[in-house]
Subunit: 403 residues, 2 copies
Amino acid sequence: MLIVMKFGGSSLATNDRIENVAQIIMNKVAEGNRAVVVVSAQGKTTDALIEKGKSVSDMVQPRENDVLLSAGEQMSSSLVAMKLNAEGCAAVSLLGWQAGIMTDANHGNASITDVNAERIISELDKGNVVVVAGFQGVDCENDITTLGRGGSDTTAIALAAALGADICYIYTDVSGVFSANPSVASDAVKHDEISYDEMLEMSSLGAKVLHNRSVSMAKRNGVEFEVRSSFDDKSGTKIRKFAAKKDVTGIVCDSNIAMITVSGIECGESTCRLFELLADKNIPIDVIIRSQGSDKSTGTVCFSVASHICGWISDVINAKKDEIGFDLITAEYNMAKISAVGLGLADSCSVAAVMLSELNALDIHPRYITTGEIRISVIIPRFMAQEAEKRLNSAFFGKKEER
Amino acid sequence: MLIVMKFGGSSLATNDRIENVAQIIMNKVAEGNRAVVVVSAQGKTTDALIEKGKSVSDMVQPRENDVLLSAGEQMSSSLVAMKLNAEGCAAVSLLGWQAGIMTDANHGNASITDVNAERIISELDKGNVVVVAGFQGVDCENDITTLGRGGSDTTAIALAAALGADICYIYTDVSGVFSANPSVASDAVKHDEISYDEMLEMSSLGAKVLHNRSVSMAKRNGVEFEVRSSFDDKSGTKIRKFAAKKDVTGIVCDSNIAMITVSGIECGESTCRLFELLADKNIPIDVIIRSQGSDKSTGTVCFSVASHICGWISDVINAKKDEIGFDLITAEYNMAKISAVGLGLADSCSVAAVMLSELNALDIHPRYITTGEIRISVIIPRFMAQEAEKRLNSAFFGKKEER
């Protein structure tokens, strides 16, 4: 079998962990597999390089920043290849440009446009494990690019697709995809498999295990992959096109939420101008709630944003107060968004009812509720979020006899 | 004018020094020059990366080590380009493979075989300062190579040759090439110019300012270059084919010397086998002295080696004692080699006489003396070396009225 294995930064953070990673790879090779390994930068290397760039210049050009950041995966790929060779397992490192990872020129957040896998195939044919530096590629000008956050996952999925790999393992520091965050809900259930769409929805709503982009690429290319832990290498969670249908797949909590309320805004053009402004500034908005005042022509618009940009975006809106036309802007910080995600939600009427009744039992009465094709989200005060996540996980996934 | 400027690791060690380097470059650009800049890794980065590789594996493969080490110059090239751009000076970084630095596949100590300068020229034509990562290249397999110690100087000279640059500046932490080490001999004289051959001899004998290989490449390609300080950017020392002829150009001290004495060795084949063994182990030997015993068929062979390999090489020779055939091997550690270098030495009979009489005045009576076309070297105890260097510098370069 041809397998692609991706290891994240925390799986490579120390020399002991590199040794552990080498052991996992050698086990797979000993079973007769041909292996392509994709590595992230060690531990906090990428953050340190970002800080270094900023310390030299307060104007960091994306092209030069990509040259700087790509050194992180360059170093870890050579270290892993060294370790494998020293253990008697023939290996060779390849950087993005050597591995044929072609991208567009969108420095800092480039998309893979093509993979020229000849060099990788020729190294596999020589009997080498090929260790590819993740997160990086090269554009048509021969300039180094980076793929943005979660980029090494994307590299792995793209290589699995280009090579027609039999399986792609994404090794990380958790053992799979859970029904809720296991460090919050101790009875969270690990899924054996879930669908691309469920995974996409969960990632969008704040689940940290995988980045949206890599899941989209896997879905587009039909790459089946598995998330598992590099600490035990036991079966994790397979992400594939179809998976056993459940009403609810997971409870996801994003505790980095603020609500902005714009009141006394005219319902027609003013509201349009407000959202044009937000689109213009590239602000992703999830929950939006409108209510009309008694005079019917003006009303209130509430929407959620990531809390760390709340102050900035409030200022941006206030600066255009006259142009847009509204009375007042206020913000509620310290909010959280709890979502239930599941392919079965579309067909089930009971999920919303169960969710609200469980929250009610905790004396939580969310003012903001929004639904999508396969999810229901509520916005609640952040200090109640962990209790709510635990309770909802137990309601949907807990052992029946314990309830 | 098209100029090549090379900055060493100590000139780039901190953010303040990067700023200083950017200022020097911008001054040259403001004078109307087109500039190609070659950078080393910052400060002690290369040593840190070497240690990192060794810590992961006690078997470091040269190919993978080159991938690891080349990250050092990659980071510094992007940082310098960032700083220049931030200051309003258009700049672009290029790594060895992007800059067309072609080398052989001798990982860790590769030689530049060719320079494909198209990309550099196209960036210069766009009005960019081109910041090239020194010390690195790419072989015909598209694998990254490094050029060995002093490699960034070699990169600069090779680029100056390929581009037909008008001048090549090697910026370092000293202000030029001196008649002796200015931190030892306070009245050491800075040369305005010296010839390639003098510089080569001085580098071979232990002068640290330039690496042999870069000087050889400059000589071979007729590249005139100038060593100057990145701290003041004042005129330094030009190295060129012809320079004003002096009896003595410099006093060079190498204090990392040990003498090995092999006694009771047969003068014919045994001695040959000894030196074959040393050649086999790639041991560079400078001073060799033979003396015959009273029986005429056996004698003593003394030779100098770098002191840090003295123990190891003594063991190597002892292990072959029966095969070679000798009585005893002994070593004198803590020796130093003082050399006088000058094109005029070939024609002057007085230098040796002056040298020995000056040393005699210090009560130093060297047992080992060796001469070459343009140099005379003596081996003396290390603790006397600084006194000797100072005295000889004053004798050959001191102001007459002060003596």
